[in-house]
């Protein structure tokens, strides 16, 4: 206890935290901010790529960019958003918040943490250097073999993709190990695993999921590299290799990856919804247990991406059933969040607006997910725009809405300033409208037979109006993000001072200054329950009397 009870004057913060350069920092908060800022840059780039896609599809028989550029755009858009935006953005929040939330001074391995960030940044840079080396990757973010074999993908663009993902994957795995270790070993006294904030709980399972899911795809990528550069034949079907093997290895990672991007988002929602409903989370244990169930089940559903490759009926049925099952724990979370809102006194500040947006939109993504898990329906709609609509409702309506809630919720902690609420509202309504206008029509285009990844279509197919609605929606989203970037930029300079605990919240990060000192806490409040600051503020009715 001595450490937390020392006063600030007694503790010399680590020298590196004072270093003028962010390049050498090992402080988890600075690394977290580096992660977030870097992924914001990639968000802008990935968004521009999406705009090129939408511009090309504005009208039938468009010659705006042609097939080569279009294929590069959707490959880079997917790769960027998954590997260089959503995942690192969530890691950024995890890095920043996990030690603060568990009352630790830093991550378990601060130098490894810095290494992780630089691997991510380097991996992203390598992937984008392909533009200077004769062309960006154009084989899709899923990089199906044998299209990615040298015979069908000449030049170096696919090699840049492989190396970029490989390098950033090293960083991702190190972060996963770091998070799990930190959460398991560095919690404040009194904070048992049953008392950590749900965001921390979900970041821990995020790490565990990655530790299981990343090695297979890393192996697959190295095998592909061997095929391409040393003439191995793992996926080379002309020489007896297997085209399906790649899909199994890739989706063994690729499906859990969806939950890697969803679990921290669930964690964010589980923090924001209670605070702004002014209620304790409804059913902490079942939300936590549902996280475990989702983590376990997500490892067993990868082949639902492969219903059209000609597996046996039995395998199709098993993977279909397992996929259906994920709806159960996800539903539990959804119901618990709504039950938390029910009977509360909702403060509709920007974080809560985005959290409500998350709940409303993610539900749609989940329900179309149930449709896709029904094998025969998948035979019709897989690889169509229906799927594009579905997973954008999951990852944009889900993860990205949650990320926005996180920005508005924790920005005051990280900067000591509030973000502008008026701009936040503008952004929220633009985002909600633009998002639905962009992605809802995609379901209809898909049901009308529009496949994904086509750069052009003819006018007689009846897809034009739906594509135009999508493109208008995408333009609205562009404005929405411009508002967001301006709000961030302006609030850092001129935002109203926030104070330590502007939202009257209950978890430990609000017990320190905004922004926190390099060593995080002068004094850790006594942790006897899941909401230590509630206990401090409500000594008449502390939480520990209600927790088992």
């Amino acid at each position: 206890m001595a450490v937390w009870e020392s006063s600030a004057a007694d503790i010399s913060p680590p020298a590196v935290a004072h270093a003028p350069s962010w390049a050498t920092t090992v402080d988890h908060k600075q690394i977290g901010i580096l992660y977030i800022v870097t992924s914001l840059v990639f968000l802008a780039v990935g968004g521009l790529e999406a705009l090129v896609i939408r511009a090309q599809l504005w009208k039938p028989d468009s010659h705006l960019v042609g097939p080569e550029v279009f294929n590069q755009m959707f490959t880079m858009h997917g790769t960027t958003m998954i590997f260089f935006v959503v995942m690192p953005m969530l890691f950024g929040f995890g890095n920043y918040l996990v030690p603060l939330m568990i009352g630790a001074r830093d991550m378990a391995f601060p130098r490894l943490n810095a290494f992780s960030y630089w691997m991510f940044a380097f991996g992203g840079a390598v992937t984008y250097l392909s533009f200077l080396a004769g062309g960006a990757p154009d084989v899709g973010w899923f990089a199906y073999a044998p299209l990615t074999e040298y015979a069908f993908s000449r030049g170096t663009s696919t090699d840049y993709w492989i190396l970029g993902i490989l390098i950033s994957g090293i960083g991702t795995l190190a972060t996963a190990v770091n998070l799990v270790t930190t959460i398991l070993t560095m919690r404040a006294p009194g904070m048992s695993l049953g008392k950590v904030p749900l965001f921390v709980w979900m970041m821990m399972f995020d790490g565990i999921l990655l530790i299981f899911a990343l090695p297979p795809v890393t192996a697959a990528i190295i095998m592909l590299l061997l095929d391409r550069s040393l003439g191995a034949h793992f996926f080379d079907t002309q020489a007896g290799g297997s085209a399906i093997l790649w899909q199994h290895l890739f989706w063994f990672f690729g499906h859990p990856e969806v939950y890697v991007m969803a679990l921290p988002a669930f964690g964010i929602i589980s923090e924001v919804v209670p605070v702004f409903s002014r209620k304790v989370i409804f059913g902490y244990e079942s939300v936590a247990a549902a996280t475990v169930a989702i983590g376990v089940l997500s490892m067993g559903v990868w082949a639902h991406h492969m219903f059209t490759v000609g597996m046996s009926d039995a395998l199709d049925a098993i993977f279909s059933g397992a996929s259906f099952l994920i709806a159960v724990p996800t539903g539990i979370k959804m119901f618990n969040w709504i039950a938390t809102i029910y009977g509360g006194k909702l403060v509709l500040a920007s974080p809560m607006l985005f959290a409500l947006g998350f709940l409303a939109m993610f539900l749609i993504g989940g329900l179309t997910g149930i449709m896709l898990a029904a094998v025969p329906i998948d035979w019709q709609v897989s690889d169509t725009y229906f799927v594009v609509g579905h997973f954008h409702y999951v990852l944009f309506g889900g993860s990205l809405f949650a990320i926005m809630a996180a920005f508005y919720y924790w920005f005051p902690k990280a900067t000591g300033r509030m973000m502008d609420e008026r701009l936040a509202r503008w952004q929220f309504w633009l985002m909600l409208a633009g998002f639905n206008l962009t992605f809802f029509p995609m379901h209809i285009a898909g049901l009308l037979g529009m496949p994904r990844r086509i750069y052009t279509y003819s006018a007689d197919r009846g897809w034009t109006i739906w594509n135009q609605l999508s493109t208008v929606g995408a333009a609205m989203l562009a404005v929405c993000f411009a508002v967001f970037f301006w709000n961030l930029f302006d609030s850092v300079r001129r935002g109203a001072p926030a104070g330590d605990d502007p939202w009257d919240a209950w978890t430990l990060e609000w017990a320190t200054t905004s922004p926190p000192a390099p060593y995080n806490f002068e004094q850790i409040p006594l942790v006897r329950s899941r909401r230590p600051l509630w206990d401090l503020k409500h000594p008449e009715d502390p939480d520990w009397e209600h927790e088992s």
Binding site: A243, A317, M371, P451
Partner: protein
């Protein structure tokens, strides 16, 4: 509540907006539904054969179930968000802290489990139905081989007598139903290069064509009609222009078509033929009855019997054919058919010859 929260009490309007933002979505939904039922050529909601019909029925069922869940959950969510918002300037104490409720939590675990279990059973039944079809239908069977190429479809009608076997491209002809009996069309799906996916939405779901594997799928025939299909798995530069037609025609028409296709080419244009055979065309293309035996590109024996060029990239008429021969890249950028940089005279000769292949 701190000062920061004082300025954000516009809860009421925000919530009304939240509720009203669903209106455009519902309008879109309605528009979408009418659009799906209109005469669109690829709508999965306008099936014309098995198994597409039973898939549509399953889709409607699942749509009903998920739609009910959508209305219910979204309704409770919006109701809660509107009903329990804090009034501006309110200084109420914190609401009652409810830590959970075992009966409720069990209920919303068990109820979805039951729904999911029923869905699973329905899906299993539907899978079996869609895969095997109706066993007591003892109508004739037509077996066809479909081979995916970057970026066109090779269609082979095998026959026990090799001389009666023939191949065509991008156009699959099948007989329509006669005397209430449907023909069961069984496809054997192969790939010559990368993964493709065979998809004609109004007939059946998609099945991938995987190099090194043989996949099978089936559909039955119905009324005479032309169906549109396309490659559904990204297969490289010109994935977008890898389309195909399925032509279901009356038994007699189908028989005549088959007999014509079986014949070697008969042409009346010897000058054009000689030029065609002298140029590089023969390295890739076959014209049965001549020395052209290439297998990389489509068989051109009865080219003019086809409606489209370059796997549906364009109509098969004189102008388009000429443009295609003169510069494939202008019609299908990235196409594997090279620009031969032919002189105008050569183009005329080749086009003249090809147009004689009926």
């Amino acid at each position: 509540m701190s000062e920061a929260q004082q300025g954000i009490g516009h809860g009421a309007s925000a919530c009304r907006c939240l509720a009203s933002c669903w209106m455009p979505l519902l309008v879109l939904l309605a528009l979408g539904h009418s659009s799906l039922a209109q005469a669109e050529d690829l709508s999965v909601f306008r099936p014309a054969a098995q198994p597409a019909t039973s898939i549509r029925d399953l889709f409607n069922l699942v749509l009903g179930i998920t739609g009910a869940i959508f209305v219910l959950v979204e309704g409770v969510l919006i109701y809660s968000a509107v009903r329990f918002r804090r009034r501006p300037g309110s200084t109420d104490p914190e609401p009652a802290q409810v830590y959970g409720s075992a009966p409720l939590e069990v209920a919303w675990t068990v109820a979805p489990l039951l729904i999911v279990f029923v869905l699973f059973l329905v899906v299993v039944r539907s899978v079996v139905e869609a895969q095997d079809g109706n066993d007591d239908d003892d109508g004739p069977v037509l077996r066809v081989q479909v081979i995916g190429h970057q970026w066109w479809w090779e269609i082979v009608y095998p026959n026990d007598d090799p001389r009666a076997a023939f191949g065509t491209a991008n156009e699959l002809h099948v007989p329509a139903r006669t005397d209430g009996k449907t023909t069961r069309v069984e496809l054997e799906l192969l790939s010559a290069d990368v993964i493709h996916s065979f998809w004609v939405p109004r007939l059946a779901g998609k099945t991938d064509l995987i190099p090194g594997n043989t996949n099978r799928m089936w559909f039955d025939s119905r009324e005479p009609e032309t169906f549109y299909g396309q490659c559904a798995e990204f297969c490289g530069t010109q994935h977008a222009n890898m389309k195909l037609l399925v032509v279901a025609e009356e038994q007699d028409d189908f028989r005549r078509w088959q007999e014509n296709e079986r014949k070697p080419a008969v042409d009346t244009d010897s000058a054009g033929r000689d030029r065609f055979l002298a140029l590089g065309c023969v390295n890739c293309h076959t014209v049965r009855g001549t020395t052209a035996r290439g297998t990389v590109g489509p068989d051109l024996t009865h080219l003019m019997a086809r409606r489209t060029l370059a796997a549906g990239a364009t109509q098969n008429d004189h102008d388009q054919l000429r443009a295609w021969i003169a510069g494939p890249d202008t019609i299908k950028p990235g196409s594997k058919m090279p620009n031969m940089h032919l002189s105008g005279e050569d183009v005329d000769l080749i086009v003249g010859y090809l147009e004689s292949l009926r």
